[in-house]
């Protein structure tokens, strides 16, 4: 399999034509990744892997203004390959913020009313410490020496960031997919710090099917010789083919068959007949190759390994004796859970399991299943019904909090 549209390029490999990897210094430059907080040797991150990570740093972006009571803070938790640029032009891709559909002046998360924070999760590659960061013990990139990260580690790091920003509790914690996992973890780990929670298109655990898809992606990366056992930064190579294939496979799971059919059908890329070759004859092939190619421009392969693993390990019920309701015992947080009809990665049944547990815990929970054929990625797209429901829930929560 190749990511190139040029058949002649099949004989080439990325390792044969090395591209300069992003240096650690570049990856952590505050100028492009927003603001950065450093946590020194005396403020380690206690990780589930049993490691104290120190020093480390968290990159984040904000929008809006924190009020005098510090009661209007919203934490946005980003998804697997997301980042802190929720309402800011992306420094690598030049694209607009990934959640500007939901966040902004007059939007459901109104930046005229709320102070919105979004941080790059620990283990990622957009300015927060992760496997591409320099290991102070060796002076080279961590690579696979970086401790395995969990969703709970991400949340602990976010809590440390909020402590640093002087935010005691959140008005709202919101996120989709892996971000939704963080929202659930926030509500379970720091219930008194979360007034309202919106986990969207997510689950309280990663399903066997989802772990399977992630494993295929990881194996694609590791099968790329340019991955170099995770030491590609020193080797001066990039496992672009492996990471690209991983992204192509994953991207299919973010869509739905009806959406693929609507956008691409069986249409040919050029002309109307097959070329009798392995060129990207079909539009869908070309689209996926493009997705793979553009992804490798902005994402670190090892970070992809770590973050997919974090999702795989997530099982909130298992952390509470196998009973999900215990994770939310006596919670005062008000929840709004959302799912999408065509999402087969985190199907509505996953959201219902969360809702049932919240019911069993007597929590205040709202739940809406939104009709959409756009699959899992619907939460990032223009979904007026989702916006209307979010508007209603967030406005009512703001009234209840006196905002």
């Amino acid at each position: 399999m190749t990511l190139s549209l040029d058949p002649a390029a099949q004989s080439r490999t990325e390792s044969a034509v090395p591209v300069p990897p992003p240096t650690v210094a570049e990856a952590e430059a505050p100028s492009t990744q927003g603001q950065i907080v450093q946590f020194g040797p005396d403020e380690p991150l206690a990780m589930d892997a049993g490691v104290l990570l120190a020093p480390f740093q968290i990159a984040y972006q904000t929008a809006g203004t924190l009020n005098a009571d510090r009661s209007n803070a919203v934490l946005i938790c980003h998804a697997l390959t997301g980042d802190q640029h929720f309402a800011h032009t992306h420094p690598v891709t030049g694209k607009r913020g990934w959640w500007e559909t939901l966040v902004g002046p007059g939007k459901p998360i109104d930046t005229n009313r709320y102070f919105v924070v979004c941080s790059n999760v620990v283990g990622s590659c957009m300015g927060s410490t992760g496997p591409a960061s320099t290991d102070p013990a060796t002076g080279r990139a961590y690579g696979l020496d970086f401790p395995l990260v969990t969703i709970r580690d991400m949340v602990r790091a976010q809590a440390m960031l909020l402590d640093r920003l002087g935010i005691r509790d959140l008005f709202l914690c919101i996120g989709g997919s892996m971000g939704g996992m963080q929202v659930l973890q926030w509500a379970a780990l720091y219930p008194e710090r979360v007034f309202a929670a919106m986990p969207i298109a997510t689950g309280a655990r990663h399903s066997a099917q989802n772990i399977a898809f992630h494993e295929v992606g990881r194996q694609a990366i590791m099968a790329d010789p340019a991955w170099a056992e995770g030491r590609y930064l020193e080797a001066g190579t990039r496992p672009a083919k492996g990471l690209g294939v991983a992204r192509m496979g994953a991207h299919i799971t973010y869509l739905s068959e009806p959406a693929l059919h609507r956008k691409f059908g069986r249409r040919f890329q050029d002309g109307s007949a097959p070329t009798f070759s392995f060129n990207a004859d079909f539009q869908i092939e070309s689209y996926l190759r493009h997705q793979g190619l553009s992804f490798v421009e902005r994402f670190d392969a090892n970070a992809y390994l770590y973050l997919t693993r974090a999702m795989d390990y997530f099982d909130l019920a298992a952390d509470h004796g196998g009973v999900l309701a215990k994770a939310f015992k006596d919670t005062k947080t008000r929840f709004c859970v959302m799912s999408f009809t065509s999402d087969w990665l985190f199907p509505t049944a996953d959201s219902r399991a969360i809702v049932h547990a919240l019911n069993a815990a007597s929590a205040a929970v709202a739940f809406v299943e939104i009709e959409s054929d756009k699959g899992h990625d619907a939460f990032l797209l223009d979904e007026p019904v989702m916006f209307a429901a979010a508007h209603g829930f967030i406005d009512a929560a703001a009234r209840a909090r006196g905002l």
Binding site: V368, A389, G392, A396
Partner: protein
């Protein structure tokens, strides 16, 4: 069928129990429910629609309310009122609630549309210490007239759809419902019949009179001390 007592257990003038001036545009049948819900109660309204009743109970009784609603439109309207409502239905979602999770569970004009009214009623009694339930009375004289004289399935204000498009698959009369209460071991604490305009009938009368003149029945039930016969009570 077990013997029915000749009169409802608690003659109850629902209309008289409402303070004057509290009406304020609210539906009369909602005010009847309002009169049955103690202040500050934890309330689950199943089939809560756009949340009008829950909002009324919250604003006038200070209840801690939750809802279940089938339609997305209804759920969105509830969210906008700040009501925690989940999209779901009575047949599938009640099993997930723990015993005695609520002080009052309300099922308004819905039981006749469930697939299994008996199991739904048993769940209501398990989940709530008290159950407020209302339903269109298929024994109402107008229904009988439609069926008996015209030979047609009745279409009334409470049952506005034709037989081929109605959601109502388990019609019952007030006396039928009293029979189901006996079967599942529910104690009828209060009962009333509302006339075609939703006004409570003011006088205690034998069941058969209510069954003839009531357009809908409104019951306040609780678990009989001890167990619910054959109920799905969880341990």
């Amino acid at each position: 069928m077990k013997q029915l007592r000749d009169t409802p257990p608690a003659p109850w003038d629902a209309a008289a129990s409402l303070p004057q001036g509290e009406r304020d545009g609210a539906r009369i049948d909602h005010l009847v429910v309002l009169g049955l819900v103690p202040p500050g109660a934890r309330v689950l309204d199943i089939g809560c629609g756009d949340g009008t009743l829950l909002a009324l109970l919250r604003d006038r009784r200070g209840i801690d309310g939750r809802g279940i609603e089938l339609s997305r439109h209804g759920v969105n309207a509830c969210l906008a009122r700040g009501l925690p409502v989940i999209q779901g239905d009575a047949d599938t979602d009640l099993a997930n609630y723990p015993d005695d999770a609520f002080d009052v569970v309300i099922l308004s004009q819905t039981i006749q549309a469930t697939r299994n009214p008996r199991i739904v009623l048993e769940h209501l009694l398990r989940i709530g210490r008290q159950v407020v339930i209302s339903f269109p009375n298929f024994g109402h004289w107008r229904v009988r007239a439609e069926l008996g004289f015209r030979g047609r399935m009745p279409v009334t204000p409470l049952m506005p759809e034709e037989w081929y498009e109605t959601q109502n698959i388990h019609h019952c009369t007030i006396r039928d419902f009293v029979g189901l209460c006996r079967t599942v071991g529910a104690r009828i604490e209060k009962a009333t019949a509302l006339d075609a305009r939703g006004r409570p009938m003011r006088f205690a009368m034998p069941w058969w009179v209510w069954n003839l003149l009531g357009a809908q029945g409104v019951f306040l039930l609780s678990q009989e001390a001890g167990e619910v016969f054959g109920g799905p009570r969880q341990v």
